[in-house]
């Protein structure tokens, strides 16, 4: 009898303490979404079926999306997200695309008609140009999201994988070498 009363009182006390803590220490924003967003590649390509990286980050934080839906982020992003959220590492979901090397948009200037449709489509303002003026892609800002290719009425935009430069060349892992 005494045991029941004691445990009951204990449960009550702990419950009150938890409720107090939940109220007192509540976090008003959603910092997890910010942290997730920082890990995403910011391509804003929409391949994850969300309109940009921030909405996808919020969906992951809310538990509405899985962590393996981002092809530009690839393995590295999945691993980083898994580590942050304490979830299992999965392989990239092929329904959302496959991991490809970074490609840069290149406008064929012979074909460009200056319609500005690609400029409006680019999520990071990486295309320079104006109405009836030549358009060109600022290579250093292009994230390879592919969104400019569709709107172009004369199909003058190609996605080109650039050659490795001495400035961004990486050493291969010994394991890649052995498997060759």
């Amino acid at each position: 009898m005494i045991a029941i009363i004691t445990i009951g009182l204990l449960a009550l006390a702990l419950g009150l303490a938890l409720g107090f803590a939940a109220d007192r220490f509540r976090i008003s924003k959603n910092p997890v979404a910010d942290q997730i967003n920082n890990l995403l590649p910011q391509t804003q390509c929409g391949q994850c079926n969300f309109p940009g990286c921030r909405p996808y980050a919020e969906a992951i934080a809310a538990g509405e999306a899985d962590i393996n839906q981002c092809p530009p982020g690839g393995e590295a992003t999945i691993q980083a997200l898994a580590k942050l959220l304490g979830r299992d590492i999965k392989s990239l979901d092929p329904d959302y695309g496959e991991e490809k090397p970074l490609a840069i948009a290149v406008i064929d200037e012979d074909l460009c008609i200056g319609c500005t449709l690609c400029i409006q489509a680019c999520p990071v303002d990486a295309i320079l140009g104006a109405s009836k003026q030549m358009h060109t892609v600022i290579v250093s800002e292009c994230t390879g999201c592919d969104l400019c290719v569709e709107p172009c009425p004369v199909d003058c935009i190609d996605m080109v994988v650039p050659e490795p430069q001495p400035g961004n060349w990486k050493w291969p892992s010994p394991e890649q070498r052995v498997s060759q």
Partner: protein, 521 residues
């Protein structure tokens, strides 16, 4: 003249006592390689941005004429190694571990080797200010010749703000086989001391410490004699134990001064500037002889060539010419390495040109090199940790990198690794440890760059979204204001506004139609 007969204490844990293997290339004096018919001069032979081409196909150039201009603060100009005609400027394979190509000036030599007056020479260099000397060093295209090829003038100007306690002259050359610095000191000791004096003036530094391995007896004698002749008390010779890799910049600073270079900084941060002896000699050639950096001394050695030795060679010369000057290949020459056996990288073709950083070409002979592909698992013997000169634990780093956890490797300070290869050499399981660390470091740098790029893209995206929102709000505001005005105003007012709009539109159409009509006439 102060001399130090005792040897500097070791001061760093680890390192290896390797067989120097340098006698093969120091038996004969420095030979000259004849100027080839065709030279391929890369425009990026240094750390930093590629030089911008100053010439085009068909131009005639003289020896020492600038053919590439420095692009930005961390860059260096490139000069024509001999006189001739520029055949073309294009992408050619250059010495690079990944076999990449870069922009090169292809020069066809006319055999006359005519020089121009570069205006670099100033015999009375003390009359120049340190800034002016640095300017001439930059003009001469001088970069670090010990292998790191950092533009010397940029290094000096970064250091000048902080004040230099001492100039450290790196004469250690601890890696096996390489002996170009040794021969340079034996044959050009006086010129070297002059170069050091010019550097002291350029840095306003009070003294210079020449760190040299105690095994290099003949070089030490030559330097001591030169110092006695010139009699500059600021320059001091310091002997160090011949332990690999005591000649690495950070290790040499530690041995000579007892202080450690902070991991996120440079020797300049603790008041020391380190330069290779080859760089010092190049500075003398520039300031005293008026010759920019167009040649260097390179060791060619290994069992794969018949007559190993040291060669003075013009930049842009194909490596095949160097091997020919060393008696040609041995049967069964197996590998071509730029640099020494511990830190050099493999070259796949001997038609690649010599560049500013080519301190050594090692040609491995038959069975000199047993690279076993079979890698045993790590047995945690700890030998790698025993020999690491920066006190890392390679075995722990290896586990993390193999498991894909590069962030943990970064936390364990993999960036401190100097890629010396000591751990690799002692590993009983033959694990390619140095390669794992090189991979991890370049992968982490790439991730950092990618992260910065992502953050920038995020800001651009957010700015754009903001701009679109503002435009949209302004448009909405205008629309509501107009609707309000229209609703409040009388019927007449409305008609007046509508006709005004129609007139404006008409005027615009007339304006665009008229030029066509003009053209039609």
């Amino acid at each position: 003249m102060e001399q130090q007969d005792k040897i500097m204490p070791r001061r760093f844990r680890g390192g290896l006592k390797l067989l120097p293997n340098k006698i093969q290339s120091t038996l004969t004096p420095i030979r000259h390689v004849p100027i080839p018919d065709k030279l391929v001069v890369p425009l990026s032979q240094h750390i930093g941005r590629e030089a911008m081409p100053l010439v085009k196909a068909g131009d005639k150039v003289c020896k020492g004429q600038p053919i590439g201009a420095a692009d930005g603060e961390v860059s260096a100009p490139v000069h024509a190694p001999t006189s001739g005609i520029v055949e073309s400027i294009g992408m050619h394979p250059v010495p690079h571990p990944g076999g990449l190509s870069a922009l090169c000036v292809v020069l066809r030599s006319d055999g006359k080797d005519r020089a121009i007056d570069t205006g670099l020479a100033c015999l009375d260099y003390l009359s120049l200010s340190p800034g002016e000397i640095q300017g001439r060093i930059q003009q001469a295209g001088i970069t670090g010749l010990g292998g790191a090829v950092y533009p010397t003038a940029a290094k000096m100007s970064k250091a000048e703000d902080r004040g230099i306690k001492a100039l450290i002259v790196n004469a250690a050359e601890c890696e096996p086989i390489i002996s170009c610095d040794d021969m340079l000191m034996r044959e050009h000791a006086d010129d070297l001391i002059t170069g050091i004096q010019i550097m002291l003036h350029a840095m306003s530094a009070p003294r210079a410490l020449i760190g040299i391995e105690r095994d290099k007896k003949r070089a030490i004698t030559a330097l001591e004699k030169a110092l006695a002749r010139i009699g500059d008390e600021r320059i001091v010779l310091r002997k160090i134990y011949s332990i690999y890799p005591a000649g690495g910049e950070r290790q040499l600073v530690q041995v000579l001064t007892g202080q450690e270079v902070p991991h996120d900084g440079f020797p300049q941060d603790i008041g020391y500037l380190s330069q290779n002896v080859g760089t010092a000699l190049a500075i003398k050639h520039a300031l005293i002889d008026g010759q920019p950096l167009i040649s260097r001394i390179t060791t060619v050695a290994g069992k794969g060539v018949h007559l190993p030795g040291n060669l003075e060679v013009r930049l842009g010369t194909p490596i095949a010419d160097l091997v020919a000057a060393c008696g040609g290949y041995h049967d069964g020459a197996e590998a071509l390495v730029m640099g020494g056996p511990m830190m050099g990288f493999s070259l796949t073709d001997d038609r690649l040109p010599v560049v500013k950083g080519t301190n050594c070409i090692a040609v491995a002979g038959p069975s000199e090199l047993e690279q076993t592909d079979f890698v045993m698992p790590c047995i945690r013997c700890g030998k790698c940790a025993q020999v690491c000169p920066v006190s890392l634990q390679p075995e722990e780093l290896y586990w993390q990198i193999k498991g894909g956890d590069l962030d943990k490797a970064a936390k364990l300070s993999v960036d401190a690794c100097i890629e010396c290869g000591c751990c690799d050499y002692v590993c009983p399981s033959h694990i390619p440890l140095a390669q794992y660390f090189r991979y991890a470091k370049s992968e982490l740098s790439a991730r950092d760059r990618q992260q910065q790029k992502s953050q920038l893209a995020k800001h651009r995206f957010e700015d754009r979204a903001g701009r679109i929102r503002i435009e949209e709000d302004a448009r909405q505001a205008r629309l509501t204001a107009r609707k309000k005005r229209l609703a409040e105003g009388s019927q007449q007012e409305r008609e007046r506004q509508i006709s005004a709009s129609v007139q404006r539109a008409q005027a615009k159409t007339d304006a665009t139609v008229e030029p066509d009509q003009d053209l039609g006439e």
